[in-house]
Symmetry: C3
Subunit: 139 residues, 3 copies
């Protein structure tokens, strides 16, 4: 695997629509043998609390009531997997690591024991940049 | 044209301010001879419905009433082109392709015939990553 | 310094949580000797008005009342520096330039004299792309 091919993702938002969009991009990248590093900040970190990943977190404000209903209906009708399930799948098929941002951990007063086991470790921003050798996304 | 110079854009948001910001970045990149690939997801896809691109979609939640008014006034006073017009212009001057994300098409129960003719095709995430050889943005 | 190592940031959002997330990423990059170019658009530009950077701008819509309270409490308890202070620090330790997007300046009817002195100049999108030789983020 080439370092040029890695993907680094700063995950800031914690709404179900953005987390799903992120998870779909990550699964696709992992399926193409790309290393993926995800750093969880703010509301995305909050979404990875232990026993909290399945808690409904709503959609982006712009979705409105109508959009939220479209998403809900699509889950029921299409049986689309939950974003957490997609990320677990990505971790199984590829080299996908999920890091909690140490600064956001302080803000939310969290320790790693408070997080879902999908989260591999706690990382500072310097370590994130040190590992970000390819494309970077902020979601 | 060098593949390194391509720009890949995941367009997720469908508010008029973010679509305008995206369109301005795309026009600038196209004017510099860069290939641009745009993948439409979620609310951005919804904004490209046939005969729907000119429907007002409001601004980001953070704009508030005051910000929305500033945008509206600027359109009237500056005669700023609509984001859809900027994207059409970008497609005329450069190699700009707009892809609808197949997974979002399922969520919104859309077929390509339901979309504005600016949209070139429907694409999966794997195809998006395969074509993303340069910088990537998520908007 | 290698051009490959530069970081270009389109800063669109003007809420305190996203500006803090951006500032943390910029400080980290600057500390690693990376050149950073920030282009301010829309609500982020609005946040850099002279004598306005310390005005509270709230959090992303998704934060809700509970999330906003967590942020407020963390500022008081952790004494976390304000995002503007982090950016000033980044400019001191590294090669960090802040550009106001000329098109957004028109929308908000601003001249450079209306902006905080942290802003180095006004720039068009073409100049932004011309300088963006490395990773690009949209926040």
């Amino acid at each position: 695997m080439d370092e040029r091919d890695s993907l680094s993702l700063v995950l800031f938002s914690g709404t179900d629509d953005k987390l799903a969009a992120a998870a779909i991009l990550v699964v696709g990248a992992a399926a193409m043998d790309r290393r993926v590093d995800i750093m969880l900040q703010y509301w995305a970190l909050d979404a990875f609390r232990k026993e909290g990943v399945h808690k409904p977190r709503g959609a982006s404000a712009e979705a409105g009531a109508e959009g939220a209903e479209v998403l809900q209906r699509s889950v029921e009708e299409l049986g689309s997997p939950h974003w957490s399930q997609l990320l677990r799948q990505a971790k199984e098929i590829g080299e996908v690591r999920i890091h909690a941002c140490s600064q956001s951990m302080d803000i939310f007063k969290l320790g790693q024991a408070d997080l879902d086991p999908m989260v591999d470790d706690v990382q500072g921003v310097a370590a994130f940049w040190a590992g970000a050798n390819g494309q970077v996304l902020f979601i």
